[in-house]
């Protein structure tokens, strides 16, 4: 039996799907355009009108090229940048997760004086625009004589740590108190309770916040640009790309930049794919009655 749809319902469905398509286009177009451009040669890039896929300027045949990628992958600066980015993003994400989960456990589950002010202070840390903190940070780093890599790791904590702490705090708060109490009665110390009982249960939140922190650190540009100004060997990938000179002198290497940009998103996509299976909801089901 077929359900007859009222005109209003049809309209609603069409509108809904239309909106989805619009959002998808809006989100994916920049990425698509980067990939498209990265597959074009210099001359293809300057064709007017721009083509939706790489085409031969004379015959308009479909003819993509991997030349940009091969140049980028042989570029020492870029590879160096990849390594630096990996180090910086991994280190600052791990630090943020470790410190953040400890802080979140305390803020979410322990009772102490000044808990609420502490929470708001942490949130306030994220409110200043990056540019305003930059000068101060730069001065601190110069005085301490920190290397660019270490400076980036610590300055990225400035935005990853408050964020992870906030998200994890609300997550810890949501875990049933009885689990903690039950562990206490079983003879666990607060640290054992945290490590053996609560932390495994926050795994989904750890994965999610970890991913977001990693992406933020991976793509960060302003701090990286400033701190590596006198240390070009420590440039992270976004900075390295910006400093591309290209194979041909006095010419913006647009295709290569696009190839590099497409390449740096791959690790992020892979990370998300690996961890998405661990983002399982309802991990605490079965813990308590009702």
């Amino acid at each position: 039996m077929k359900k007859s749809l009222k005109p209003y319902d049809i309209l609603k469905r069409v509108g809904f799907n239309f909106m989805i398509i619009f959002v998808l286009l809006y989100l994916l177009f920049p990425f698509y355009w980067a990939v498209n451009s990265s597959l074009k040669t210099e001359s293809q890039l300057f064709m007017t009108p721009a083509t939706a896929v790489p085409r031969d300027p004379a015959t308009l045949e479909f003819s993509p090229t991997l030349q940009n990628y091969s140049v980028v992958l042989r570029d020492g600066q870029f590879l160096r940048g990849l390594a630096n980015s990996t180090i910086v993003a991994t280190a600052s994400t791990s630090l943020a997760l470790i410190a953040g989960s400890f802080a979140a456990f305390a803020l979410g589950k322990l009772r102490f004086r000044g808990r609420r002010p502490a929470l708001y202070l942490i949130l306030a840390m994220t409110m200043f625009p990056q540019v305003t903190v930059l000068t101060g940070l730069y001065a601190v780093i110069t005085v301490l004589g920190l290397s660019a890599i270490v400076s980036m790791i610590f300055s990225y904590l400035l935005f990853t740590l408050p964020f992870t702490t906030w998200v994890l705090t609300s997550f810890f708060k949501g875990l049933p108190n009885e689990l903690m109490e039950s562990a206490q009665v079983d003879g666990a110390t607060p640290f054992q309770t945290f490590r053996r009982i609560l932390l495994p249960l926050t795994a989904p939140a750890l994965v999610t916040t970890g991913l977001l922190a990693f992406i933020a650190a991976w793509n960060e540009y302003l701090f990286a640009l400033t701190f590596t100004a006198i240390e070009p060997g420590s440039r992270t990938v976004p900075v390295a790309i910006a400093f591309f000179t290209g194979a041909v002198a006095h010419q913006e290497p647009f295709g290569e930049i696009m190839a590099a940009a497409s390449l740096v998103t791959i690790p992020l996509v892979v990370l998300v794919l690996i961890f998405q299976r661990r983002i399982v909801a309802g991990l605490t089901s079965g813990a308590i009655k009702g």
Partner: protein, 371 residues
């Protein structure tokens, strides 16, 4: 193994709720103490204070003579079954039960042995490698019990550990717990709102109401000599009947008059009453248990006559809801008696078992210390 001493324990929650009021209790080593009372009377709170999970607002708590007000739960050497289970959702049943032992660095093979024994007692052998969410409510509750009984603590605290089991399993587990208590020779403190559990399992029963201890006694004393109307009504099923009445004294006999009739007290009960002055015309509440009422078909009598309003046939017994001149009383009678709805019956009181309490203070007039 331990004795406990609760001295004027009080709990006032931050929101102002005064949940536990001056609770004093002496619990001997190896006792099976049951805390009973209606929902919200503070049973769980008392238990949680003993466990150390709830700060003691005022009063002292001693375990084995040691002052433990400020001792953390993990150092009190207690095991607790939580009202809502509190199982570790990411661990298998085996690991859930073994967690406390593992923390105490017990060797692996010993843990295995202990957990398997407990699982056997509770009928959980087949579920040992499942996660809590893969169990039914009753199985989870048994797992929560298992987590406590693998331990060898000074005191067992159990908060309604059988509430989610079906009737058959409940009777079974009740017996298992009693056996366990005999075998482990450990102090048990058991919370329930089910008075049958309380009566069948407890060596001592503590009746709580509104955060106040009403009476502490063994099951028989509690049934026979309730200290006030609350305890009288709480213990026993179906509930004791209460009827407004007035005392009169004539020729040395005290009689209790109520709307639908009157009864004369036995000399023994009169003697227990007599030191209460102002007997005559005193306003009292007459309490009589359904099992102490009987009926016969009315044959022209004029006193204690009632109309049968509802009959409940339970097989082994029949409950009759009687209208005694406006007072509804329940009688528990022989099912073979041929009584039907709308029948007019005469109500017989087993006078030696009636209770009398003051109408205002609700305190029993027949209660005697050390009876």
């Amino acid at each position: 193994m331990a004795s406990l001493d609760l001295v004027k324990l009080n709990k006032i929650f931050p929101n102002g709720t005064h949940a536990v009021k001056d609770v004093s209790l002496k619990i001997e080593d190896k006792e099976f103490v049951v805390l009973v009372g209606p929902s919200g009377c503070g049973k769980s709170t008392v238990l949680r204070m003993i466990a150390g999970l709830e700060e003691i607002t005022a009063g002292e708590l001693y375990i084995d003579g040691e002052h433990v007000n400020d001792v953390s739960p993990k150092d009190r050497d207690i095991a607790m079954v939580f009202q809502n289970y509190a199982l570790y959702p990411h661990m298998s049943i085996f690991d859930n039960m073994g967690f406390g032992l593992k923390l105490r660095r017990m060797p692996k093979n010993q843990i295995k042995e202990k957990v398997e024994t407990a699982a056997k007692i509770l009928g959980l052998q087949e579920f040992l490698d499942r996660k809590p969410k893969q169990l039914s409510g009753g199985q989870r509750q048994r797992e929560a019990l298992g987590r406590a009984i693998v331990r060898d603590p000074k005191v067992f605290l159990m908060d309604e550990p059988l509430s989610n089991l079906d009737a058959k399993l409940r009777v079974q587990t009740r017996a298992e717990l009693s056996k366990l208590h005999l075998r482990l020779e450990t102090t048990f403190i058991y919370v329930t709102h089910d008075q049958i559990e309380a009566m069948t399992m407890g060596t001592h029963i503590v009746v709580l109401n509104d955060g106040i201890v009403q009476q502490v006694a063994d099951p028989f004393t509690l049934y026979k000599f309730p200290v006030n109307q609350f305890v009288a009504g709480f213990i026993g099923s179906p509930q004791m009947n209460f009827v407004d009445a007035k005392l009169t004294e004539a020729n040395g006999t005290i009689s209790v008059g109520f709307k639908g009739g009157s009864i004369d007290l036995t000399p023994e009960l009169s003697a227990r009453l007599k030191d209460n002055d102002r007997l005559s015309a005193r306003e009292v509440t007459l309490g009589v248990r359904p099992e102490h009422l009987d009926v016969s078909h009315a044959k022209g009598d004029d006193e204690n006559i009632a109309i049968v309003e509802v009959t409940e046939l339970l097989g082994s017994e029949t409950h009759l809801f009687l209208n005694l001149e406006g007072d509804t009383v329940v009688a528990r009678v022989d099912p073979l008696k041929n009584i039907r709805v709308h029948d007019k019956v005469k109500v017989h009181f087993e006078v030696e078992y009636v209770h009398l309490s003051d109408r205002e203070s609700k305190a029993s007039l027949l209660y005697e210390e050390n009876t």
